[in-house]
């Protein structure tokens, strides 16, 4: 059963990923990315990461993608592009990236996994276990992310302000 779920979700993720790269209209790329994120959230659930699953749907597929859609509708539809000046760049980059995929595949072949720390899977990945990690051992990095978000929010407001000489 889990294998069928994995195969369907993986196929959806790969189809969505190909769609992100191949669609000409940016809005279709964004919607393909939403498909990828929903498929990945199913995989997170398979890997017993319930909290990451919920955050993936609410924050990523919900908030971040809606932000992308807002900006795309704000900027208007993109025009079709003709062939670029550096046409060989496409084939060269695809070649390099396929070599990268081959390297990663070769890496997985010789991999030796460490034996798992013996913990209870019924507790693993729940909100409680995430909170214990986030508010005890990793409290300092967790607080630093709030500063990161504050800086990003201030930066976005600064960049999108109305300039005095525009008026």
């Amino acid at each position: 059963m889990a294998i069928a779920v994995f195969v369907v979700a993986a196929a959806m993720a790969i189809i969505g990923g190909v769609g992100v790269v191949t669609f000409h209209q940016p809005i279709r790329s964004v919607l393909s990315l939403v498909v990828v994120m929903l498929a990945l959230s199913v995989l997170f659930l398979l890997l017993s990461a319930q909290f990451v699953f919920a955050v993936q749907i609410i924050v990523y597929a919900g908030a971040v993608m809606v932000l992308f859609l807002f900006v795309i509708t704000l900027l208007g539809p993109a025009r079709e592009l003709g062939p670029g000046r550096l046409r060989f760049q496409t084939w060269l980059s695809i070649l390099f990236v396929l070599v990268l995929l081959g390297l990663m595949y070769a890496l997985f072949q010789g991999i030796e996994y460490r034996h798992p720390d013996q913990t209870d899977l019924s507790f693993f990945g729940t909100v409680q276990s995430i909170a214990i990690g986030l508010f005890t051992t990793y409290l300092y990095p967790f607080e630093l992310t709030s500063i990161l978000l504050l800086v990003a929010a201030i930066g976005a407001m600064y960049l999108s302000r109305k300039r005095i000489d525009d008026i």
Binding site: V20, L46, V52, I94, I130, T145, A152
Partner: protein, 109 residues
């Protein structure tokens, strides 16, 4: 090879890692080949998602919660990156239409 027992059936951790590698590579192709700056940002999001999948897979394989915590942190970073990147794009588009990132190469010195 390491099998994960999920709901009574045996799945291999390397399947998840291979899927993560394929998605990462698709995102890399998008960044290198596409010329619309918006699509490049979307492809970067795809690569970050692929990395998240690898983190959660290793977290499950080692039954160690730290991988999931790292995935949550990387989601935060991805959100911040998307916000700032889109704000920069909107600011550029206000001045002129950009359909190719190579049009913005005047600053390269």
């Amino acid at each position: 090879m390491s099998t994960l027992n999920i709901g009574g059936s045996e799945l291999d951790a390397s399947w998840f890692l291979l899927l993560s590698a394929v998605l990462f590579v698709l995102g890399a192709i998008g960044v290198l080949v596409r010329r619309n700056p918006l699509v490049i940002l979307i492809s970067i999001e795809l690569m970050l998602n692929a990395a998240n999948l690898a983190l959660v897979t290793f977290s499950r394989q080692l039954q160690n919660i730290e991988g999931q915590l790292f995935a949550l942190m990387s989601m935060t970073v991805a959100a911040a990156e998307a916000v700032v990147g889109l704000a920069i794009l909107v600011d550029i588009f206000r001045v002129r239409d950009v359909e190719d990132v190579d049009d913005l190469s005047e600053l390269k010195g």
